[in-house]
């Protein structure tokens, strides 16, 4: 089985959010998001309440997956960034580390050049945070970090979920 679990603790979450907030400010963006490649939102900053973030996460991941497939078809390892240009709003999508997707939504208050530059800078920092998350997850599996709250769920807990 691949590493099929991602555990995000308060500390790393805070650091991710801080670096997203910084990026959003530096890039004069409307909103910035980090998603997992499987389509789940990890963190966000900016005008996030203007968007259906769950749908954004799923469709962005689908977009990245399809683009990855296209790259392989022509013998490229990946297209590391994607850019969608609209009338008013634009998207910049890039890969951070191995499994995260960074989405920046921006308008005329910013520019593609600026977004690119700032994304490059904060990606380095975010990659580091993800590496540490991964390490912490591995330590948890070895029993050196707090165990998952699900280690002790009962059949009753599970059944209760479905008793609507």
């Amino acid at each position: 089985m691949p590493a099929n679990e991602l555990v995000l603790y308060q500390e790393e979450f805070q650091r991710l959010e801080n670096s997203l907030r910084q990026l959003r400010q530096d890039a004069s963006a409307r909103a910035v998001f980090v998603f997992d490649k499987s389509g789940q939102q990890i963190a966000a900053a900016g005008e996030t309440d203007q968007f259906d973030t769950t749908s954004l996460a799923s469709l962005t991941a689908g977009n990245v997956a399809a683009t990855d497939g296209l790259a392989k078809l022509i013998g490229e390892r990946e297209f590391s960034t994607l850019h969608h240009e609209g009338q008013r709003d634009h998207m910049h999508i890039s890969i951070v580390g191995k499994r995260a997707i960074l989405l920046v939504i921006f308008d005329e208050r910013s520019s593609l050049g600026l977004v690119r530059l700032r994304v490059k800078r904060s990606s380095v920092e975010m990659e580091k945070i993800f590496e540490e998350m991964q390490e912490k997850g591995t330590r948890a599996a070895d029993g050196q970090a707090p165990a998952s709250p699900f280690a002790e769920i009962t059949d009753e807990d599970i059944d209760a979920l479905f008793s609507e």
Partner: protein
Amino acid sequence: MTFINYASREINCKIVYYGPGLGGKTTNLQYIYSKTAPEAKGKMISLATETDRTLFFDFLPLDLGSIRGFTTRFHLYTVPGQVFYDASRKLILKGVDGVAFVADSQEERMDANIESIRNLDENLREQGFDLQTIPYVLQFNKRDLPSALPVDVMYRALNFKREPTFEAVASEGIGVFDTLKAVAKQILVELRRQ
């Protein structure tokens, strides 16, 4: 991929509905969507062709309540069933936690069912998963049709590890939630085991 978020106290899992084209995968999701309270569901997204055939995927986010103070959220996806969409199917299996296989009970779709399970096995393997061990349930859909094969015949042909199996008429909602619950349960039990 199971995503446990201690900061927002959420747990997110991904379930994929797999099976041959026109078997009723999208119909399963539509029924779940129609029967779920507005506050427990997000928008259902369908990337479909003009004729309503699934082109890339359907997506439905669902909150099932909470366990030990963690909001439990399932992301439901369907794949396009037609053979030539194999590249898309592989993409949707990325980070999957559990699979519900929707088989078409009509006799003339039996070969398509078998081919689709074989295809699932292969595509899971490519993503580093194993059909033998991944949370998995089987649904015999379209039980209302006159050409539906007897259940025991289908069971012998399609069930390969005594996975939970449900009869369904997805267009009327029969068996739809049983199927979802069974796969969700297996995922949570798996989470406990890890």
